[in-house]
Amino acid sequence: MTNPIDAAPADDLFIDAADAGFTYDGEHFVFRHLNLTVPRGQFVCLLGGNGSGKSTLAKHINALLTPDEGAVRVFGCDTRDPESTYFIRSNAGLVFQNPDDQIVASLIENDVAFGPENLGIPNPELRERVTPALKEVGLQGFEEHETCALSGGQKQRVAIAGVLAMDPAILVLDEATAMLDPRGRAGLMRVVRDLHAAGMTVVMITHYMEEAACAERVVVLDGGEVRLDGTPHEVLTQARALRALSLEVPFACRLSLELQARGVPVATCITDDALKEELCALRSKQ
């Protein structure tokens, strides 16, 4: 069976929120008149303070929530159309913050197989889904380990493998690295970057600016509105705007600004490597 998504044109919009509005209580809108599109294959990072509407938006991507105003189209299908729900959900995978909320089975292979099994995939093919998915997240050979004995980072990788086994076209990570230690976070980022390099569309919600710096595009939400939208460099160097939106400024950018304030002619950088290069170049000019 060919996936209808593979047949779609290459430049199509995978996510298209048009004038979308959503309210939990019928009174206060989490977002309203929201317009945001994400083309196939893009790696976009969503930033915003607590309560900015990021997670609510993420749940619209696989039709867990549907808009009360306007429309959200995923793969060109209206998320409110009950006929499309199944198709959207099986192709847009969501990973949440707390891995303990997402593990359903006691053995790793059973947990990873849970999603595709629910899609009705028969057993021999099921194995062909589980093994590569575990390999993708660096857990090959762990099939028969117990999920309860894993560390937080490993559990989160199992959760991602479970989503990958469903062969999704969009991967949505809602603060999936928030509960991990630095090593777990770096490992997960490597997995996400590899998946994106292999063509996956990635929507990542995070508070960590170093992670945002890895994306192709950064969108900052505040009070349900898109406040900043551009390349990581365009967005993350806007120190004053970020702070006003209760967000952090990446370390390299903060240091660049401190240096500029002290008369050192460096450009505003968003990564340590770029700033190091700048500083070395400056010194060699002396």
Binding site: N50, G51, A178, P182, H207, E258, P265, A267, K276
Partner: protein, 348 residues
């Protein structure tokens, strides 16, 4: 209160079984992890003292034993071998543990998950009421605790804690612990899941508790936060004490920290990478401001062409990034850079 760990080892496999076999005998026995490779030892031969009034930071990768360690601090779990004492009294004794439990405030990860009462007031009052204090004293403590965490009791006291925002819920949970007036406050990842602004607010709050004389033990994955606040930092790895010392001592060896899955704080790590590139950065511990000062001094000294390069850099910056201009941002950056500097001064 001085809390001391004396050669503490803890095994989840051994804990309950040991209880049945008689704890005393078990505690006196030598730890046998060398002989019992199957037993999972969460803590191995940990000895340290939490000094009265100090701010002890605890770091370690996932599964390194941090949470197990802090559960020992109020007698919630007992060592499989070794002992934990509060001012010399063994926490394994029931009376000691129940006395110490009201002096040690333990704030778990995501403490807002433990809110349960119908009103904010009742939730904060739960601990003091459990201590059998009279209502007038309970009321005084609730008021003081709410004030400490910056919440208006009159405005939200009668509301359900579940109607509050996530940040407010966490403050209520904090207030519930503070209302017990603990001498030692133990915090497990107190700012996890908060946005950067709320994170800074909470850290300032914790620094205030410490300034009031409270002993604080804080577990965190953020080396920046630990470096800025701690008097000493304990690094755990595989249940053992990997390092224990001042932030400068602990973060001096970035390579070995990396080997146990941790990094140095960003300014310290960047300083070390610049040193490798030949910059001379002599300080033991760098924060953002001190790093900028030292770099500026080095790059300004003997740089006759500074004006020319400055113009070049300005041209290189695109017009869209005008708000990132140095002059506009200096006042904005100053208060942010303040906190770590002050913490550094306190350490001397």
């Amino acid at each position: 209160m001085r809390l001391a760990f004396e050669a503490v080892s803890y095994s989840y496999a051994g804990g309950d079984a040991a209880k049945k076999r008689g704890r005393k005998k078990q505690r006196e026995r030598q730890a046998d992890w060398g002989n019992a490779p199957d037993a999972l030892w969460a803590l191995r031969d940990v000895s340290l003292t939490v000094e009265p009034g100090e701010f002890l930071g605890v770091a370690g990768h996932t599964g390194s034993g941090k949470s197990t360690l802090i559960q020992h601090m109020n007698g919630l779990v007992h060592p499989t071998c070794g002992r934990v004492t509060a001012d010399g009294a063994d926490l394994a004794e029931k009376e000691v543990a129940s006395r110490v439990r009201s002096q040690v405030g333990l704030v778990f990860q995501y403490p807002e998950n433990q809110l349960f009462a119908n009103t904010v007031y009742d939730d904060v009052a739960f601990g003091p009421r459990n201590m059998k204090l009279d209502e007038a004293e309970v009321d005084r403590r609730v008021r003081e605790a709410m004030e400490l965490v910056g919440l208006d009791l009159d405005a939200i006291g009668e509301r359900s804690p579940f109607d509050l925002s996530g940040g407010q819920q966490r403050r209520v949970a904090f207030a519930g612990v503070l209302a017990m007036e603990p001498e030692l406050l133990v915090l497990d990842e107190p700012v996890a899941g908060l946005d950067p602004l709320s994170r800074a607010d909470f850290l300032a709050l914790i620094a205030r508790f410490h300034a009031r004389g409270m002993t604080v033990v804080m577990v965190s994955h953020s080396m920046e936060d630990l470096a800025a606040l701690s008097d000493r930092i304990l690094v755990l790895s595989e249940g053992r004490v990997f390092a224990l010392g001042t932030p400068a001592q602990v973060f001096a060896d970035a390579a070995s920290l990396k080997a146990v899955g941790l990094g140095a704080p960003a300014p310290q790590a960047f300083a070390s990478s610049l040193r490798d590139a030949g910059f001379s950065l002599p300080r033991e511990l760098y924060d953002e401001t001190s790093l900028a000062v030292d770099l500026a001094a080095q790059l300004a000294a003997g740089a006759p062409n500074a004006d020319g390069t400055a113009a070049g850099a300005a041209e290189a910056e695109s017009a869209g990034e005008a708000e990132a201009a140095p002059t506009g941002d200096a006042p904005c950056g100053a208060p942010n850079a303040d906190a770590p500097t002050r913490a550094g001064d306190r350490r001397g």
